[in-house]
C-alpha cells in the first residue's frame, strides 16, 4: 500500500510514524519477489531487513531516512554479490562499498536489491545481461524495450517498488530507459558524483545516474550522493554541493532555452513532435525565451560512431582486469596463465561484449589509432565545442529523448550498433551530454496508449539547479509526475 509513492511522500509517512522503514522494506521485497520483468540480480533481503529494523527514530531533516532503493548490479557492494550481469563475475563478492552506496548507507537509505543490466553496462537494449531480456513493465506483451543498460533499475522504479533506483549512464543508459519507463532519469555534471566503486565501462563518459518518480525526488537524491571524493576519485569535483531540493522553484521566466532543429526534424512519431511543441509552449508561457538553433547534421551523425569507438576503446582496457586470475570466473584446467585468461574471457563474456572489445582494440592499434580513436576524439571535441557554443547563448537545450515511442526488442543483440541515419541523430544524441559531461535530465513528456515517452533538458556544467528547475516547470504543467498507470505487481 506504500508502493508507487515518491521520496517526499514516503518521508512524510515515515516521520509521522504512519509506517516504519521495516514495513516499507518488507512490502518492497514482497513486490520484488512477484515482479515479472526479469529485473533482479540479487535481493539483499537479510541485509535490508536487518538494516531497516535498526531504523527506529525518524530523522526529520533526512529525506532519505528509511527509504528503500535498488541499484544496478555494477556498483560495488561489500559482501553482496555483484555480477554486472556478466558470467565472468557470476561469483564476485566485492570487499568494499562504492562511495554512493556508502553515502546512502550513511543517510539510512536501505538497499534492497541489485538489478539487471546489459552485460557490463555495455548496451542500450536491456537484452544482453547474463539473465536474458529485462522487460518493460508498461508492455505486458514483452514486445518493446525498456531500454538499457540500466534496465533492471528502470523497471523496478517504474513499478513503484522503490522511489529511486541507481544506475549508470555512459551514453544514455539511464536517461533513455527513463523515457521508456515513464521516469525521471538524471545524470549530473561529470565529476559531481564520485564514481568510486562503479564498475567502469568508459570512464571519460561514465556517470553515476539514477531514476526517480519526480523531479524533486531527483534533486533530493543528488543532494545526498554528490560531492568530492578526495581519497578515491581523482576526477570528482571539489565544488560545494548545493541544496538542490530547496532551490527548486520552477521559475523559468528569465531562462533562454534552445531546441535543435535537426533533431526535432528527425522525430518519427507524431506524439513526440506534439509533445516537444507542448513543452516549448509551456516554457514560453512561463516566461522563458525558447528559440530554434541549428546543429551541423554531420556532427550529430558523428555522435554515435564516435561514442562507439571511444567507449569500446576505453572498455577493452577497463575490463582487462577480468582475466580469471584474481577473482571471477576460473574455468577448467589450465596449463598457463594465457589459458586461464582465454578460458575465462571466452566463457565469461557474451557475444556483444566480445564484438565491442574487438572494435575497441582495433581502434587503439598503433596502425589504426589516428584514423579511428584519435579521429573519434577529435569529433568528440567538435561536438562538445558546438554544445558549449549553444550553451554560451542559452541556459539549456531541450530535446526529445528519442524519435520513436515503442522500440521493439530485437533478437539480434548487435542491432543497436547499426549505423542508420535515424539511429544516429534522434536516437543517440543524448550521448552529447556524456561527451561534454553536462547535467542532463529526462522526464516523461506524454503517454501514448499508456506507453510513455520523454523529453530531455541539458544545461551548463554544474548548473544542476537549472536543469531541475526547467524540468520541474515542465513536470508541473505536463501533469506526469509520479505516473502510476503501470500495472503494479500487487494489483
Amino acid at each position: 500500500m506504500y508502493l508507487g509513492k515518491t521520496i517526499e511522500e514516503l518521508h512524510e509517512l515515515l516521520v509521522s510514524k504512519k509506517v516504519t522503514p521495516l514495513e516499507l522494506v518488507k512490502e518492497a521485497i514482497d513486490a520484488l519477489k512477484k515482479e515479472t520483468t526479469n529485473a533482479i540480480e540479487t535481493i539483499c533481503e537479510k541485509e535490508a531487513l536487518e538494516f531497516a529494523s535498526s531504523l527506529v527514530e525518524p530523522e526529520v531533516d533526512n529525506l532519505l531516512w528509511g527509504i528503500p532503493y535498488v541499484c544496478k548490479d555494477n556498483f560495488s557492494t561489500k559482501g553482496i554479490l555483484t555480477t554486472a550481469s556478466s558470467n565472468i563475475l557470476s561469483d564476485y563478492i566485492p570487499v568494499f562499498d562504492a562511495t554512493v552506496i556508502r553515502k546512502l548507507k550513511d543517510k539510512k537509505a536501505v538497499l534492497i536489491c541489485k538489478t539487471t543490466l546489459d552485460e557490463l553496462a555495455m548496451g542500450g537494449t536491456g537484452t544482453t545481461g547474463h539473465k536474458g531480456v529485462t522487460y518493460n513493465p508498461y508492455d505486458e506483451t514483452h514486445t518493446y524495450k525498456v531500454g538499457g543498460s540500466s534496465c533492471g533499475s528502470a523497471s523496478i522504479c517504474a513499478q513503484g517498488i522503490t522511489p529511486f533506483a541507481l544506475g549508470s549512464d555512459t551514453g544514455d543508459s539511464v536517461r533513455k530507459p527513463a523515457t521508456y519507463a515513464g521516469l525521471v532519469g538524471f545524470k549530473p555534471t561529470w565529476g559531481r558524483i564520485s564514481r568510486f566503486g562503479l564498475f567502469p565501462f568508459a570512464p571519460s563518459l561514465d556517470h553515476v545516474a539514477y531514476f526517480t518518480r519526480s523531479v524533486k525526488d531527483s534533486a533530493i537524491v543528488l543532494e545526498h550522493i554528490a560531492g568530492y571524493d578526495v581519497e578515491h576519485d581523482a576526477t570528482s569535483s571539489p565544488k560545494a554541493v548545493e541544496n538542490y531540493y530547496s532551490l527548486i522553484d520552477g521559475n523559468v521566466s528569465n531562462k533562454k532555452i534552445a531546441y535543435i532543429k535537426e533533431i526535432n526534424d528527425a522525430i518519427k512519431d507524431a506524439p513526440i513532435r506534439e509533445g516537444i511543441n507542448k513543452c516549448i509552449d509551456i516554457l514560453k508561457s512561463k516566461g522563458a525565451l525558447v528559440e530554434e538553433v541549428s546543429f551541423d547534421q554531420n556532427l550529430l551523425a558523428a555522435i554515435y560512431p564516435s561514442y562507439l569507438i571511444i567507449s569500446c576503446a576505453e572498455a577493452t582496457s577497463n575490463n582487462a582486469n577480468l582475466d580469471g586470475i584474481k577473482f571471477g570466473l576460473r574455468e577448467g584446467d589450465a596449463s598457463s596463465y594465457q589459458e586461464i585468461m582465454i578460458n575465462a574471457r571466452t566463457k565469461g563474456f557474451g557475444e556483444l561484449i566480445k564484438r565491442r572489445f574487438v572494435i575497441g582494440s582495433f581502434s587503439l592499434f598503433k596502425a589504426n589509432q589516428e584514423e579511428l580513436f584519435i579521429r573519434a576524439q577529435k569529433a568528440r571535441r567538435l561536438i562538445v565545442n558546438k554544445v558549449n557554443e549553444i550553451l554560451s547563448d542559452y541556459d539549456a537545450i531541450l530535446t526529445p529523448c528519442g524519435g520513436i515511442i515503442r522500440n521493439p526488442i530485437v533478437s539480434n543483440e548487435s542491432d543497436d550498433d547499426r549505423l542508420d541515419i535515424n539511429q544516429m541523430i534522434v536516437e543517440n544524441h543524448l550521448g552529447m551530454g556524456n561527451f561534454a559531461g553536462l547535467p542532463s535530465i529526462s522526464i516523461p513528456m506524454g503517454l501514448d496508449n499508456n506507453f510513455p515517452y520523454g523529453a530531455n533538458v541539458m544545461t551548463k556544467a554544474f548548473d544542476e539547479v537549472g536543469a531541475f528547475n526547467i524540468a520541474y516547470a515542465l513536470e508541473e504543467d505536463l501533469g506526469l509526475r509520479n505516473i502510476n498507470t503501470v500495472k503494479k505487481v500487487n494489483d
Binding site: 582496457s317 582475466d323 598503433k366
Partner: protein, 476 residues
C-alpha cells in the same frame, strides 16, 4: 673493420615513497606476501587511481638533476597488455608526455675526459606483481604491485662499457642522495636494461640491437657491455649477422647468454588514462620540489672541499650516503675539524662498523661526543691509543669521552709542572743517566721516559715528558 658501439640504457628506479603510486597501500620490503594490498592493487572493479604527490616531487627532483625540461602538466597513459603479473591488464605510465624531457648528464672518464650523455625522457609508472614460478604453479605477490617507478631513458649516444658504468653510477648517486630510492641494484630497486648495437665507424645508421638484462651492479654493466661488444664484433667479422634478441648477464661466467629471440613487438594500444584528469603543476610547486631536494653528491663534494678535504677525500666521503650524512652532522658541530672527522670516519669508525657489520646509522656515538674525543686527543689529554680505547667504549655506552676516560682511568697528564716534578724525581733516582747523557749517550733519554711511563702507568703525555727530560738533563 672497426666497429663503433651504440648503447642506450633504460633505468627503472623503485621509489621509496610511503605509499604506492596510485593507492594508499604502504610500501615496505620483505613483508609477508600479499599483506600490503588495497582493492586497487588487485584491480577490483570500480577502484580508481589517485596520484602520489611525493612520487611527483621525486620525479621533478631527479628530472632537475638530469638537466631535463619539466612538463608543467601531468598526464598519464595506459599501456595495455595481458600478463599474470599485471593486475589491471594495463600499466599506468606516461607515454605521450613524460614529466621530464631532453636532459643530459656529464660523466668523468678514467682518461680524464668528460662525456656528455643525452637523456631522452624520464617518466613515472607503477611496478607489477612479483611472481614466484614453481614447478607446476605460480605464486603471485601483490605487495610490489603499484610501487612507484621512475624510468629514465638515455639516447643511444653511449659508446663504451665505461661510459655506461659511469652513467648508471651517477644516476644511482642522484636517486640515492635525493632520497628518491635506495638505488640498490642487487635488490632490484634500481634496474637497468642495456641496448647495444655495433656499426662501422663513420656510419650513421644503426645496427641490429641486442637487449641485455639482469645487471645487478654497475661493474656488471661495464662487463656485460664489454663482453657484448666483443661478441658482436666477432660475430660480424665472421659474417654472422646479429639477431634481435634479449640476453642476460651471467655473473659467474661473466658473459651474456640468450634469453629469448625478439618477435614482433607488442602493440600496447596506449591512450590517455581517463581516470586522472591532467594535473597542472604550478611553477611554485616545481620550484619548491627542486629547492627542497636533499643535497646531491656533486654539491656535497664541492662543499666538503671548501672546508678542507681534498678531491679524493671528498669523493670518498660520498661513496656512502649515510656516512656523508654523519660527516655533515660532525662538521656542523665543529666546522674547523673536517679533516680529523674524515680520518676518524674512514679509519677507526669504518673499521668498527665493518667489524660489527652495522650501518653508521646504528652507531651510538654522537657527532658531539666524537668531537669531544678529538678535543681530548688534540689537547693531549688522551694518547691516540687511549682515544681508541675510549671510542670502543663510547660505541657501547654513548657517554661523553671525558667521563669514559675518567671511568677507564685513562686520562693523560699534560700538566708541565706536574710532569717536571716526576721527571726530576726520576732523574734523581737514576743519577747514572745524567752521566751517560753528558757522555753523549742519547739512549739515556729513552731510558728515563720509559721509567716515567712505567711509574705513571703511561698516563703522562710522552711528548711533554721527553721534552722535559732533555731540558732537565741539559741543565744538570
Amino acid at each position: 673493420m672497426n666497429f663503433e658501439a651504440v648503447i642506450g640504457i633504460e633505468i627503472h628506479v623503485e621509489m621509496k615513497t610511503r605509499s604506492k603510486m596510485f593507492s594508499s597501500s604502504p610500501i615496505a620490503f620483505g613483508k609477508e606476501a600479499n599483506t600490503l594490498v588495497t582493492p586497487l592493487d588487485m584491480a577490483f572493479p570500480g577502484t580508481m587511481p589517485i596520484v602520489n604527490k611525493q612520487a611527483v616531487i621525486n620525479a621533478i627532483r631527479v628530472s632537475n638533476a638530469l638537466n631535463m625540461t619539466i612538463d608543467n602538466e601531468l598526464w598519464f597513459d595506459r599501456k595495455n597488455y595481458f600478463y599474470s603479473d599485471l593486475p589491471k591488464g594495463f600499466q599506468i605510465t606516461q607515454d605521450k608526455r613524460p614529466i621530464g624531457r631532453d636532459g643530459y648528464l656529464e660523466v668523468k672518464l678514467s682518461n680524464g675526459t668528460i662525456k656528455k650523455i643525452e637523456i631522452e625522457r624520464l617518466h613515472m609508472e607503477e611496478d607489477t606483481c612479483k611472481q614466484l614460478h614453481m614447478a607446476d604453479y605460480t605464486l603471485i605477490d601483490y605487495n610490489r604491485a603499484g610501487t612507484p617507478l621512475i624510468e629514465i631513458v638515455s639516447r643511444p649516444n653511449i659508446r663504451s662499457g665505461e661510459e655506461a658504468m659511469k652513467y648508471v653510477e651517477t644516476i644511482k648517486s642522484i636517486v640515492v642522495f635525493s632520497d628518491v630510492s635506495d638505488g640498490k641494484m642487487e635488490e632490484g630497486s634500481l634496474r637497468c636494461d642495456v641496448n647495444i648495437s655495433l656499426r662501422p665507424y663513420g656510419s650513421d645508421t644503426y645496427g641490429t640491437k641486442v637487449e641485455v638484462k639482469n645487471l645487478n651492479s654497475t661493474a656488471n654493466v661495464q662487463r656485460a657491455i664489454d663482453f657484448e661488444i666483443k661478441r658482436q664484433t666477432k660475430s660480424l667479422l665472421s659474417g654472422i649477422p646479429i639477431e634481435q634478441e634479449t640476453r642476460r648477464f651471467d655473473e659467474l661466467k661473466r658473459e651474456t647468454v640468450l634469453m629469448r629471440k625478439k618477435t614482433d613487438s607488442v602493440d600496447y594500444k596506449y591512450f590517455t588514462e581517463p581516470n586522472i584528469v591532467p594535473i597542472k603543476l604550478s611553477d611554485e610547486f616545481i620550484e619548491t620540489a627542486i629547492k627542497t631536494c636533499p643535497e646531491l653528491a656533486d654539491a656535497k663534494i664541492a662543499r666538503f672541499k671548501e672546508i678542507g678535504l681534498s678531491e679524493e677525500e671528498a669523493s670518498q666521503m660520498i661513496q656512502n650516503r649515510l656516512m656523508a650524512a654523519y660527516f655533515d652532522r660532525c662538521i656542523k658541530v665543529n666546522p674547523k675539524r673536517a679533516k680529523a672527522f674524515w680520518n676518524w670516519l674512514n679509519g677507526d669508525i669504518l673499521a668498527y662498523l665493518n667489524k660489527h657489520e652495522i650501518e653508521i646509522t646504528s652507531l651510538v656515538v654522537t657527532p658531539e661526543n666524537l668531537n669531544s674525543l678529538i678535543d681530548m686527543l688534540e689537547k693531549g689529554t688522551l694518547s691516540f691509543n687511549q682515544a681508541r680505547t675510549v671510542f670502543e667504549k663510547m660505541a657501547i655506552d654513548n657517554k661523553d669521552a671525558s667521563s669514559i676516560a675518567d671511568e677507564l682511568g685513562l686520562k693523560q697528564n699534560s700538566n708541565e709542572d706536574e710532569i717536571r716534578k716526576i721527571v726530576e724525581e726520576t732523574i734523581n733516582e737514576f743519577p747514572q743517566s745524567v752521566v751517560d747523557y753528558k757522555a753523549g749517550k742519547d739512549r739515556a733519554v729513552g731510558f728515563l721516559v720509559g721509567q716515567i711511563m712505567k711509574k705513571t702507568k703511561g698516563k703522562v703525555n710522552p711528548a711533554i715528558t721527553s721534552k722535559l727530560v732533555v731540558e732537565i738533563l741539559k741543565s744538570k
